[in-house]
Symmetry: C2
Subunit: 352 residues, 2 copies
Amino acid sequence: MAGEKITIYDIASEAGVSAATVSRVLSGYQNVSPATRERVTSIIEKHHFRPSSFAKGLFQQAFRMMGFILPSVENPYYAALFTAAHEEARKAGYTVLVYRTTPTEHVDEAVIGQLIAQRLDGVLLLGGIVESTQPPGDLLAPLTLLQRHIPLVTICPPIPGLDCINFHSDLSSSVRQSVRHLHALGHHRIAFLGGSYQNRSASERELGFLDEMRKLNLSTVYYHEAGHTPEAGELGVARLLAPISKENQPTAIIAINDLVALGAMRQLKRMGLSIPQDMAIIGCDNQFFCPYTDPPLTTVDLRPGELGRVAVHQLLAKAEKRVEDLSFTQIKESTLIVRESCGAKIGRREIK
Amino acid sequence: MAGEKITIYDIASEAGVSAATVSRVLSGYQNVSPATRERVTSIIEKHHFRPSSFAKGLFQQAFRMMGFILPSVENPYYAALFTAAHEEARKAGYTVLVYRTTPTEHVDEAVIGQLIAQRLDGVLLLGGIVESTQPPGDLLAPLTLLQRHIPLVTICPPIPGLDCINFHSDLSSSVRQSVRHLHALGHHRIAFLGGSYQNRSASERELGFLDEMRKLNLSTVYYHEAGHTPEAGELGVARLLAPISKENQPTAIIAINDLVALGAMRQLKRMGLSIPQDMAIIGCDNQFFCPYTDPPLTTVDLRPGELGRVAVHQLLAKAEKRVEDLSFTQIKESTLIVRESCGAKIGRREIK
DNA sequence: AAATAGATTGAAACGGGTTTCACATAATAG
DNA sequence: CTATTATGTGAAACCCGTTTCAATCTATTT
């Protein structure tokens, strides 16, 4: 029934008042006589009228919207990050617009242009930044946002030259923890599995791994595979173990994430190796399925939910309170979740 | 540097032309002298100016935005659905706004009001509809969208009274397939695990299960647990098997989804039962981890990606081509993915 | 040289709200 | 009973683009 596009003027004329009065009724707190308010309200109800938030925002210079840029939520890590961040933003009354990065495309000027055009109150950039093979300037595309004074918070390894609020997990230290854990359990030949040299979080982990191995005077068996999926894990293990004689084989694997660990475990079993007796394995992210692998997977919890929440809080502060243009980097500690895939005391400290 | 809020008028005055000319430069195809175009363009570049898409949309009566309403993407099924749908929408140049439902809250008038206020070009409602314990009208909140002639497409079991384009998986038939598969493998005592009577897709599966069991003259061992998580699966199995003597125990379990199956498998192993010898198990959704469980999980593929894509295509057609106000329901077939958790021929027809 | 067509450009209206300011009426004070 | 204040309401400006229409200036035709 109700007409195609209905405006405040339609309501006004039907109620025999001016648009100003309808606006007052909508805002609630102005002085309008009870009789008028009643009449206008009923007409609004009747037509299910809701004032356009854009016309509104146009005048008020704020649309209460924020943009999230993130990789696919098919990766449960980002799903958790997104869910928490989204929830916080919604609680604060913001609508969220979602933009995506892919493993091969980073945030380019085109997307940034769109973000600016949307007149967002803030932008949250979640990981997935690719170490550019393009001119390095491309990594700094988000800089334009800063120039336009659009609040920006990032959750990823800090990008040099991009001075904004940044939260990130200490990826390097998380790998170090893993190495030390395995070392303490008596492992000397440890392999690192997964990642891509183009990916900043991947290379950061890798660097941490190599450094910690060196510190402990451990010999490295090392495989470098461009991928973050279970398939990459399968292939990685196959390639890793094929050319190595049984005696020189690594006794433990650190996978770049739980997905890769999952694939690796399958391939290990397929090759007749038992976990953790023949091969210990450790993942990263503490994804929901970790307690349910066989054996349950030891991993590192990066607390993505927490990260998402604090990031949005900072973004809100910047968007609303006009906080001084501050920029800082905060590192979130990660915690090793010991389960059974490394042969550590079974059943102890098991979480979730 | 660049001023806080910069408008087309700022650009115009800096270039010494009128706003109309700047607008013409932006749109590209109008006749503007090369000299002027050049000058204006350089000033636009300098300030990273992008015209507000809202001021633009206000005039053009279309914002090229669509709203997605969905449950948490922490459920990989919805993550897949969302990712595919999002990609299609983005390809067509639309920005997507995300709203969430929770297991306990359905889409209420407040959210619908917001959607209307955002003047969206279309709305996609993805599952998660709760069979209301509230007045049944609440299920029909999206009806308001239809009244306002806002294109609506749903992906969930069809809601009576909500005449819109609807796509859904034939949940009932997918369970029937599972039952027949198990029956063909010689199982007679089959349990159904998981779901909540408040959830429409859950109850639909349950009904299908009961009906097919009756048709095959099978005795049912049945447990009804309000949940869709691995934890629910663990608890479900524990409760299911505890009170039953070994002889009367079911020999197979159909889990409402792969998550529940995952939990169930863990609990079965914990109780010393081996899969599939002591207990066959079958999941639903064909989530990424299914090939990696031990043994690999037989499940049903609902093709969420496909569902998401066709739904968005329809939505686009309605939003753009002013297609007649049509409404229909289309059922997508699901396919059984046979792996090893039911003891069927190992290695055959294995997918992914 | 005058007339006409064509290319550039600006003024102004519009879209849908909010808000300021002024005005009319009603209520209160003196 | 007039002077003052409070209350309810409308006209109009504003937010930031797009688009129509008319005006100017240049170039071509006769």
